[in-house]
Amino acid sequence: MDTLILGLPVAYYIAMVAKVLVAFVFVLLTVAYATYAERKIIGHMQVRLGPMRTGWHGLLQPIADGVKLFFKEEIVPSQASKFAFLIAPLVALIPAFISFAVIPFGDTITIGGYTVPLQIAAYYDQAGKQVFDINVGVLYILAMASLGVYGIVLAGWASNSKYSLLGGLRSAAQMISYELAAGLAIISVFMLSESLSLHKIVADQAGGAWYAFKQPLAFVIFFICSLAEINRTPFDLPEAETELVSGFCTEYSSMKYAMFFMAEYANMITVCAVTTTLFLGGWHGPAFLPGWFWFIAKVYFLIFVCMWVRATYPRYRYDQLMRLGWKVFLPLTLVNVMATGLWVMFISK
């Protein structure tokens, strides 16, 4: 136990590898079964059954889909820019997963006298009894969230197809419009927490003092903007099949298409996890169940809301989308930041 590698105990490295593996496998499984849950939930909302044949009530459907996609033919358009075409799915997929490095999915657990913080990029000071995580965790998440759009734009451009290009460009425009409002919505949370560390933000929300109650407008706007940023209905213009065939992934097949698909669902899980962390009190909940359970329950509830929204609303038109982003959400969040600032300055002190 006392052996040190680069100034840190061995247990730290073991715990780190375990956390990375558990979180990654869990997110992958959630991605697979989110597709199943989406088909089931939307099916029942449309008074249908959804998948029923593959396994009991269609439970093996994600595995069957995965195997099918794996054995599909790899098609690269002859006029495509090959390198960019091949790298684009990876560029879309990886940022979707690495955001989980900073999301705290629980407080701390003690195994064999060694306390581990349930957050991948975090260190627990055993003597000082304090968790240290990345002190700009939210900025890291915002940065990774914006990186994902490169994959989509690159895919659109490299495919050398007019539909793909239009889809990619729409995605870029949409990202920029909604990232501003989402960022400003988070700023009002920082004003209250006075920290960018996700662990600190969650710790501040103990005892039901969730930021969703203190900042309801920021919560709603952040969640809607997140839906727009991850290109989910009703903001799925980059892959609007009525006008763009399948948007940026029109020319993709096989595992490369599966990667875009996984990226989309992984992004949804990331966004729900970030919303839970920032606004819904992260791991806090009634004490009879462990913190990670409440975190997962909240994330799954938000994923359900995403699917519910998808089953309800039709797609926005492009000009409506831009108007909503720039003329409604941006001014609203600015007013919210102003109001929060005045409250922090004059009332709460």
Binding site: M45, L49, T312
Partner: protein, 132 residues
């Protein structure tokens, strides 16, 4: 602007708890209603087809899918020596049943008419008689 959005969400969530209308088709069979117009059958009386080869059904048929050829039996009665329906052309309008003066043709509840070859879609007199 916000109330209609909330109302939409209410509608979708209420539908989630309704009984799905899906029919698990090959295992669950549909409830075929009376008056359903499925595959034709030739009615039989005294071990013979009732058809007298009057040619009213091929005449009235809008899809021109019925082929009848008259013959003369041992009692010098007119009968259908050949009676064929091309199921690829048939539109299941039921005019042949309405037109028949001797109630020789009817429509059954059978609707699964898929087959592997074109020739199998030509329902000859024997095949039409089999469906009692």
């Amino acid at each position: 602007m916000i109330m209609p959005l909330i109302k939409g969400l209410q509608i979708t969530i209420s539908h989630m708890f309704k009984k799905p209308v899906t029919l698990q088709y090959p295992t669950e069979r549909p409830d075929v209603k009376p008056g359903f117009r499925g595959l034709h059958a030739l009615n039989v009386s005294h071990d013979k087809a009732k058809c007298v080869a009057c040619y009213l059904c091929p005449t009235v048929c809008p899809a021109k899918c019925i082929t009848v050829e008259a013959g003369e039996d041992a009692n010098h009665d007119k009968y259908a020596a050949k009676y064929e329906i091309d199921m690829l052309r048939c539109i299941f309008c039921g005019y042949c049943v309405e037109a028949c003066p001797v109630d020789a043709i009817r429509m059954t509840e059978q609707f699964e008419l898929a087959n592997y070859s074109r020739a199998d879609f030509t329902y000859t007199k024997d095949r039409l008689l089999e469906k009692k």
